[in-house]
Symmetry: C2
Subunit: 763 residues, 2 copies
């Protein structure tokens, strides 16, 4: 029943013929018939052509979206709008083993607040690391609005490496935004609260509740935030909102807007008007202007005091040192966005129909000339709105966020209430185009649209309501990201993309070729700490070490077995299973799940991860590889045996199946036949220019490894046969065949690749 | 290049003509330019046309995929291949509030094993509920391989309603599969283990370790599994695998395959060959044939004993009663699939090149005639393979799973090692077509392909490796589901869809129009228990109730405020916040997150959910709505104030901002102006045939509600104005305006909809 040489060969011939005949299929069915059947217009077809990405195709841009209260990041391709990965950040996620292996648990542990482990975050605004104001493709930062924290994700493996807790804030929204060389990551409060962790009544709101703006210091080489070098601006209890860092001429400055500068405190339950009324009463709120460069110099000069492990700049000091100014801005703004040339700052006031374009030159002039219209209740100088404005442009209802085009002076602003995107000229102050979206757009993103060198091309509208856009899936709807072509004069809607998990708020998009993710780790790697794991082991060096009640299992994973397959411990032991994935092949991830202990690991090639648990109940606990890693993946299994205290082994073991010399010889014959199949595939590959195809070279390397394992198993089988131990001889011969099957699998994949990619025969 | 020049030109002419007013934008850019720029072939364009779904379009089929060790279900549309929702089942997920609100925590609590709360599952094989062997669109069942459990998901709201733990198994893989009227859900073991929870050494593997097959009784009306009516077949310690239920003539029977009937127990760490060798040595394993109908009758007749709260049928009794038979099947099979007419059972042996087609008639004849070739070591009668076979068909390397076409006798089988799908005729036993996939296909699905009435049309290949198919995102790759058009004679690859989270194993796909999900709950609904919540409340009835140290907050959510906005409790209190979403509008979900307490809720329209926590530290804890629900969503906020024990309020409150008569009058003027805008939108809508558009009718209803709220706020404002309380008068006038803004938002959305859908003016 095993595959014979003849059968396999005839199969391979069939394969070749089958491919040649494929063309006839398409002539049977005209494009127009399909369009008619599916109700597509020519406009739809054009849109389809602009987004459809055939198998193996690549997207031009990679978008990183926040997942909102899912606590994750969402990675997708543009223009195909296919989601490539959810990256676990603040929320445990078992597919990635995040929050399940000891190594990633340690990252989540960094995010404890008041001693409590938090198992979600409300992620809002991701930011790419920058060099000279342009994305450098190295890191992404993301904030947690609910529990003020910032996380660092490394783009070489798309894993979360660090979580830092803001020790002053109890709420934040305005993060993460980076300075042009990622010197700092900006994080601003949202809802004011006392800086201390104590109870302070609302009657002391104006005096004790505070907003703030943190500049987190980032070490780009190490890839970690350095809390000890970071500083915080104490700010009034206005609800600070988003920020952007200056660039070019405005380098060294930061801009942070706010709402509820009324400092209203609700109380609808007591008959008072609700927050929404009291927080949107005034016509203007305040744009906060901060000088982070000078602040950093003060910190360096030892002029700022430390509190809670970082530097805190009190308002009084900030005012005295000329680090902090306010400018009125139209009510309840959300986005504040600096133009690529750094000369203008655009603010969209959600409850105003205008965008306001401020001039950095005019702001500097006012500061230089001390041309202020007054001070706020906390003594911060206020620059007059008219003094600082370059222009105000009426766009429509609910302007929210602005992104830039590659064309000079051209910007795109989302209009929440109008459910539109406006394209406009911020130099001349005129509207150029509008497009309807579905429905109620929040943020938007253009390609590298907040860098010094935006790419234009595409725009994604992050709609807050989907309503009727997709097949219904119950009361909780997906979100809808709409892809819009902005390459021409008129914007064109291309695609509706449902977001199946999470509520994204903000997206950044980077040129795909700026990213160089790795496909494997160095062998025995702790990916969360970026170093060799102390728990790593190598093939043949697996061991189980007991020290008192602690048992450390140094194990390995490879297609298709776990070493060890039987783990014996005693009731009450603390067991730590450390697993190293021995694979080098791309995408050869193994998993590890164990019955009833909440143990679930994802072990990518090269990685070492650990699961520590208490074996608190005697019993039998199967474990296995969760990843469908090979044809024999179901057989990649084992047992944890937790023995009662004082248990002594008794009774011999009887094999379920006995094998004879005939069994051995039958297996060997199969193996010889299979080897002939492998040889024929190898002959095909080596007779072609396979070295010109890197994916095939990788497959061949992997296949060579597998054949090496086959040779080892063969040796064992033959040794046992020599001794007349037909049981072990047969089974090792079976194992030899298993490796052959893996080799054949790889070989066939390589052969298909060569055929499909027009490999040429070497003469 | 199938399209002639002439034809392509006519297409482009059609393009221009078809676009009408918008033509100028599109005529600048020809389809051919786009294709050239993006490297698309005519074949690609045809595939694009077959999958591209314009905004608002609907998918023809809804696929439900397991998420593997992500512990979730994945819902996506076919042919657009857009993922619509991840449904949390065994893993907490904060966007859905699953595992965060008390109601869903109670569902997860049902899944405890050995007292341990498990925060993941390894989901494998989803199954739709059936009526007369056809999908009825009511429920989906999904299993957990790691911790033997089955969950029930209701398709009216796509929520997990129940988790049941298998008290006998320690591992399972073969679930869930349903009988033709969902009388039972089949769940089979994978790795054998003792039925007791005690330690049993491996030396007693053959005697004490057991496999098994559970038939979970399902109450379709109540939508819940009834453990007390369910029964389990004790089975030998072979690794049972997938199952399928008979239908038509084979109704009443179940088929379950297995691997490792060698009963091999590994031990590579001791120098023994690994499981993979010992478990794949024999040429055949066993297909288990069970008579569930007769077993159910025995149960009903009181002839089966109960153990651990359900019925257990010992092997001896099953053999004696003629409920259990074995048939050899080619080694290490995975899928077992009954043909739509119920006459044949197809088994794919992963390590054989054949699929084996068994004849139900022949099996019955053998049983009737007691034509057995022997018994297994446990005394189970074995029917000869040749006796039971209809045909064996050689398909290729690694046949795994079979799905049916709408055409009689036509089936599709995945070939793991060959990375192909084979289309073949199971009546005649011949191969009809093959297509290459990328790479290493596991399961596959055709539309309603395991029902009595398959639809054909599309096939999805669940590939286990993605390798180079997508832009790289680090060592952990997405999965790849490939959409294949099977409507013609030759299969055609249409689309590659990355799976960004989880490792799907199995998909089922249902006609979209069989689903009728709800868009809202009845007001005050506990969705997990399907009844009115005892914690519900209504607008104006919000309250805070204290009983000793327990504080119950009965709150509400509506655009854009939370009632109450201030919650005062004392250190040490147990606080339970119960929130009812008062919205009736589709997609108007509110969220609720609170600083540092791991409180995060998703509250869809009508729902009531609760968060219970200990207020163990005095302090200030902001909370807010996480969903971007309206233009004022950032202002939808509040504070939990945890006072120290014995705290007495002191000091008066000073408003951050004072308002005068002039402020009030200014606000009223704004409101009058805004009302004029609303009136003009209303005039537009009512002058058109808006009642012909259900989405617009819904918007108008919602807008009418908002205007009603505006009227209430207006009354309050005017009452305060009358008293000369300009502070409250101004703020209530502001609240009146807030409702106007919401009304305008809805009105504009309705107007846009009418414009885009060709509404006609009423004369």
């Amino acid at each position: 029943m095993k595959f014979s040489k003849k059968r396999t060969l005839s199969l391979l011939v069939g394969l070749t013929l089958g491919l040649g005949a494929a063309s006839s299929a398409y002539s049977q069915q005209s494009l127009q018939d399909v369009m008619k059947a599916r109700g597509l217009t020519q406009k739809d077809l054009l849109a389809a052509a602009k987004t459809y990405t055939p198998t193996g195709g690549r997207d031009e841009y990679i978008a990183v979206s926040s997942g909102g209260q899912s606590g994750q990041l969402i990675i997708y391709g543009i223009p195909s709008m296919r989601i490539l990965k959810y990256v676990a950040v603040f929320t445990p996620e078992p597919w990635q083993g995040y929050g399940f292996d000891d190594e990633s648990k340690a990252v989540l542990e960094q995010g404890r607040i008041n001693g409590k482990l938090l198992t979600y975050g409300d992620t809002h605004h991701p930011a790419f690391s920058e060099t000279n104001g342009d994305y450098d493709g190295r890191y992404v930062f993301i904030n947690d609005k609910a529990n003020p924290r910032v996380a660092v994700v490394d783009l070489k493996d798309f894993e979360t490496k660090q979580i830092v807790v803001n020790p002053f804030f109890k709420s934040e929204h305005g993060g993460a935004f980076v300075t042009p060389n990622t010197e700092y990551i900006m994080e601003a409060t949202q809802y004011a609260a006392p800086y201390s962790d104590d109870f302070v009544p609302l009657s002391k709101f104006n005096e004790v509740y505070r907003g703030g703006l943190t500049y987190w210091s980032f070490d780009k080489k190490e890839g970690r935030i350095k809390k000890e070098n970071s500083f915080v601006f104490e700010l009034p209890p206005y609800s600070q909102d988003l920020s952007d860092a200056g660039k070019g001429p405005s380098y060294g400055w930061g801009f942070t807007n706010s709402f509820c500068s009324e400092r209203y405190v609700g109380g609808i339950e007591k008959g008072r008007p609700p927050f929404e009324a009291g927080c949107s009463q005034k016509d203007t709120d305040f744009l906060h202007v901060t000088n982070w460069k000078k602040a950093a110099e003060l910190v360096k000069a030892g002029k700022v005091k430390k509190e809670k492990g970082m530097y805190l700049i009190p308002m009084k000091q900030a005012i005295a040192e000329g680090l902090l100014y306010l400018i009125p801005e139209p009510k309840s703004p959300h986005g504040v966005d600096v133009t690529p040339d750094g000369t203008k700052i655009i603010v969209a006031g959600k409850l105003d129909t205008h965008v306001s374009v401020y001039s950095f030159d005019k702001i500097m002039k006012a500061i230089k000339e001390k041309n202020f219209v007054g001070k706020d209740p906390y003594g911060i100088p206020i620059i007059g709105m008219k003094t600082a404005l370059h222009k105000q442009v009426q766009l429509g209802l609910g302007p929210l966020h602005t992104q830039m085009d590659s064309r000079k002076c051209v910007a795109y602003t989302s209009l929440y209430v109008d459910s539109q995107v406006a394209k406009w000229d911020y130099c001349e102050g005129k509207v150029l185009d509008k497009i309807n979206i579905h429905y109620n757009i929040g943020h938007l993103v253009t390609m590298e649209g907040d860098t010094v060198d935006p790419d234009g091309k595409y725009l994604v509208s992050l709609n807050k309501l989907a309503i009727d856009r997709f097949n219904p899936v119950g009361p909780l709807h997906p979100q809808n990201h709409q892809l819009i072509d902005i390459s021409g004069d008129k914007m064109q809607l291309l695609y509706d993309m449902p977001l199946p998990l999470g509520e994204p708020h903000y997206v950044v998009a980077i040129k795909a070729d700026k990213l160089r993710p790795e496909i494997r780790y160095k062998s025995g790697w702790n990916s969360r700490e970026d170093k060799r794991s102390k728990w790593r082991t190598r093939a043949g060096r697996e061991k189980i070490v007991r020290e008192g009640n602690r048992v450390d299992v140094y194990g390995t994973l490879i297609r298709s077995h776990i070493t060890p397959e039987i783990i014996e411990v005693q009731e009450g032991d603390t067991v730590s299973i450390h697993l190293t994935n021995l694979e080098r092949a791309e995408d050869e991830t193994h998993g590890f799940a164990m019955y009833s202990h909440n143990v679930n690991l994802s072990v990518e090639p090269g990685k070492t991860v650990s699961a520590t648990f208490k074996a608190d109940k005697a019993g039998v606990y199967p474990y296995y590889c969760t990843e469908f890693c090979s044809a024999l993946h179901l057989e990649m299994q084992g047992y944890l045996l937790v023995q009662p205290k004082g248990y002594k082994a008794e009774g011999g073991f009887v094999e379920g199946q006995k094998y004879t010399k005939a069994d051995y010889e039958k297996q060997v014959k199969t193996n010889v036949d299979t080897q002939a199949v492998i040889d024929s595939v190898v002959a095909f590959i080596t007779s072609h220019n396979y070295k010109d195809f890197p994916p095939v070279v990788a497959l061949v390397e992997d296949a060579t490894d597998q054949l090496g394992f086959a040779a080892e198993a063969k040796k064992k089988a033959e040794a046992f046969a020599k001794k007349g131990d037909w049981q072990n001889a047969t089974l090792w011969a079976g194992q030899w065949w298993q490796y052959q099957v893996k080799t054949a699998d790889l070989g066939l994949r390589a052969k298909t690749y060569l055929e499909e990619h027009g490999a040429k025969k070497i003469k």
